[in-house]
Amino acid sequence: MKIALFVPCYVDQFYPQVGIATLQLLEKLGCEVEFPLGQTCCGQPMANSGCEQDSVGTYHQFVRTFADYDHIVTPSGSCAYHVKKHFDIIEQTPAVRKVRENTFELIQFITDVLKVTHIGGTFAHQVGLHLSCHGQRGLHLANASEITPERGGQVSQILSTIGGLTLTNLTRNDECCGFGGSFCVTEEAVSARMGIDRLGDHLRNGTEILTGGDVSCLMHMEGIIRRQRWPIKVMHVAEILNQTLQSTTTIPKTLC
């Protein structure tokens, strides 16, 4: 199984530790991971701004870079969703179809493809999980509160296997944080307000460490936390899992 790591553009530049944690985590899970150097971005910044046509070149570059791999794994639900959902405007060659089918958000890859649902180890903190909308609703990584009162989902499931870790019970489980790509600057006032409210829920309910599967949402909220000097630390879920997962676990060699 040939696995490629996709580290989105802004993660590459500003959050290299998330890329490192993702790589190490996958390696500890027994995967052989390559990081193809031709990668840049999934094209979302242009497309979400309404300039889909300007992202076509980036889409092709993405496909060129990753077409040879069985799986493309990324620590960003939003990027994975974008590849799956919005690469429909370019010609659907076998390579394009293959790449769209096999691009995975990290946790989804771990639970659905590697079939690992237990990470274990200890992490003695109260962790607040931010369900990023693209992962939650777009990739169905967690239930939507409009559809069912049952909370839960893949990320909280896997975090709950870690000793000492308590998950924050939020008042509004899946309210958007207000990042929204270009929204965070074009609608600065509402975006900031949404972030403040989202973090207020975490503060009131005791979150020490804020985590999630999307660096973009975390970057937005971290920006607010640092401005407000609130006592919350931000870690991508890959960083927590990589920290608690001590050694190589026994993933059957046939898988990886």
């Binding site: 553009c9 590459d12 530049q13 500003f14 959050y15 290299p16 490192i20 790589l23 990668q39 840049t40 094209g43 910044p45 242009m46 497309a47 979400n48 701004s49 309404g50 300039c51 889909e52 046509q53 300007d54 992202s55 070149g57 980036t58 092709h60 870079t65 909308c133 693209h134 609703r137 777009g138 939507a144 409009e146 559809i147 009162p149 509004r172 899946d174 309210e175 958007c176 207000g178 990042f179 929204g180 790509g181 270009s182 929204f183 965070c184 600057v185 074009t186 609608e187 600065e188 006032a189 509402v190 975006s191 900031a192 307000r193 949404m194 972030g195 403040i196 971290e222 920006g223 640092r226």
Partner: protein, 454 residues
């Protein structure tokens, strides 16, 4: 003004924004409780969606069937291609009746057509009889929500309005007392009015009847005491049968306000002995929307307002920030069809979180349509040229890995050496008004990888 400008203004009052958000979230929670009690609710959503899809695909057939049955019932059916024609038809009916006062229950279509100012200009007194509508009519404001038109007002503000217009005691702001004052005031209007106008929630093709849903009973009271009933409906309000109506009566009030059904679900099929009933069927851009495959589904909307209550942006920017007849997520996909230039900022007034699509009782893919409208806006003349260029340049950088690598490094380095005051100047960088920028690391992941893995 664009949505973001109006939203920014709204947000200058932090506490009122909190209050507005919480009021609407409260309605969303009531909706959740009502919905989760119905085991088959998700099946009903799917049925509602399919019935609407089916009806739209045979819309001409069902409208003609509705018309024929309505006419057989003694109803006069009119067709209006646009807002102006609709308004003219309504005015003509009122004039012919010899009356000069109209009592009106809630109709978003007449808002869309700006009927009130038109009639007033022509000497007709219009009395909105829904409590919320009456309040904003006194204030000369448009509704800020399609189900709760005065949701943006605090009870003290409403007390003030009633004091001025109805002579209630100064400072009285108890909702119970205010509602009683409105009841007394509007009863007089109901007693006197001979012409009543209502909206239409559903028009049933097989019976030729229309269905109006209210909690207050104002539609019935107006219509049942008048000699002329005018019902205004968009072409998309028709549904085939009573079996289908059953599905929508189960979806509508639960989604809208968390009630199992509205207090009154009234079926007007034949005019009362000796009175007239008119139905005005209005297009006003709807057939054009029907012809846009990507946006056609917006015509399935049953105007429950759930997408507004759930929308984190609507809750924190208020209905008036949309500057459109229908605000919120559904308004943001309907309005560009009517006037792309005026409403070009609306598709961007969303994080594309998708909550609207998940809450919608007829499963309209609202957030997908918002994304698609963005693509259209960017190609129109109503998109900032500098942004257009920036996206184009960004696209070209991101398709060339070497250039991207070099630029990224330079940008990171610049951020490292730029003084905080400059990099965070709010005028240059909207991000930094309320947020810190990420701290630039010494090396990118790519650089780390080059050193540590290969």
């Amino acid at each position: 003004m664009s949505h973001s400008d109006l939203a920014e203004k709204f947000n200058t009052d932090f506490d009122k924004t909190t209050w507005h958000d919480e009021s609407l979230w409260f309605v969303r929670q009531k909706r959740d409780r009502a919905v989760f009690q119905v085991e088959e609710f998700q099946e009903l959503r799917e049925l509602g969606s399919q019935i609407k899809d089916h009806t739209l695909s045979k819309l001409d057939y069902y409208l003609e069937q509705f018309e024929a049955n309505a006419q057989a019932n003694g109803v006069v059916v009119h067709w209006a291609a646009d807002a102006h024609e609709h308004n003219q038809i309504v005015l003509d009916i009122i004039k012919k009746s010899g009356e000069s006062c109209l009592v009106k229950s809630k109709s978003m279509l007449t808002e869309e057509c700006h009927l009130n100012p038109f009639l007033e200009k022509n000497g007709v007194e219009v009395v909105d009889t829904d409590l919320g509508e009456r309040i904003i009519q006194f204030l000369d404001q448009p509704p800020s929500h399609i189900v709760m038109p005065a949701i943006h007002l605090k009870k003290e503000e409403i007390g003030e309005v009633f004091h001025k217009h109805l002579g209630t005691a100064k400072g009285m702001s108890d909702p119970q007392q205010l509602t009683e004052a409105a009841r007394q005031h509007l009863r007089q209007k109901f007693m006197a009015a001979k012409v009543a106008l209502s909206g239409v929630n559903f028009a049933v093709a097989e019976t030729g009847g229309i269905v109006v849903c209210t909690n207050e009973g104002n539609a019935d009271l107006g219509i049942d005491l008048a000699n002329v009933h005018i019902a205004s409906m968009g072409i998309e309000k028709v549904i085939p049968t009573l079996e289908h109506l059953a599905v929508f009566t189960r979806l509508l009030a639960r989604s809208a306000i968390g009630q199992p059904i509205t207090s009154y679900t009234s079926h007007f099929t034949k005019p009362r002995q000796g009175t007239q009933m008119h139905v005005v069927i209005v297009d006003n851009g709807r057939t054009a929307q029907l012809g846009r495959p990507d946006f056609r589904a917006s015509l399935k909307c049953i105007r429950c307002g759930a997408c507004m209550n759930t929308c984190p942006v609507y809750r924190r920017s208020g209905g008036h920030s949309y500057d459109a007849t229908v605000p919120g997520p559904i308004g943001a996909i309907l309005s560009p069809n009517i006037d792309l230039k005026k409403h070009s900022s609306l598709p961007f007034a969303s994080t594309l979180c998708g909550s609207c699509s998940d809450v919608c009782p007829v499963k309209i893919d609202i957030h997908v349509q918002l994304y698609k409208w963005r693509q259209i806006v960017s190609k129109s003349g109503d998109y900032s040229a500098s942004k257009r260029l920036a996206m184009n340049v960004l696209g070209r950088v991101l398709e060339r890995p070497q250039i991207y690598g070099r630029i990224g490094k330079v940008a990171r380095r610049m951020l490292q050496i730029t003084p905080h005051a400059l990099s965070h100047a709010a005028a240059l960088n909207p991000w930094a008004k309320a947020r810190e920028l990420p701290q630039p690391p010494a090396e990118s992941f790519k650089e780390w990888y080059g050193k540590n893995r290969k």
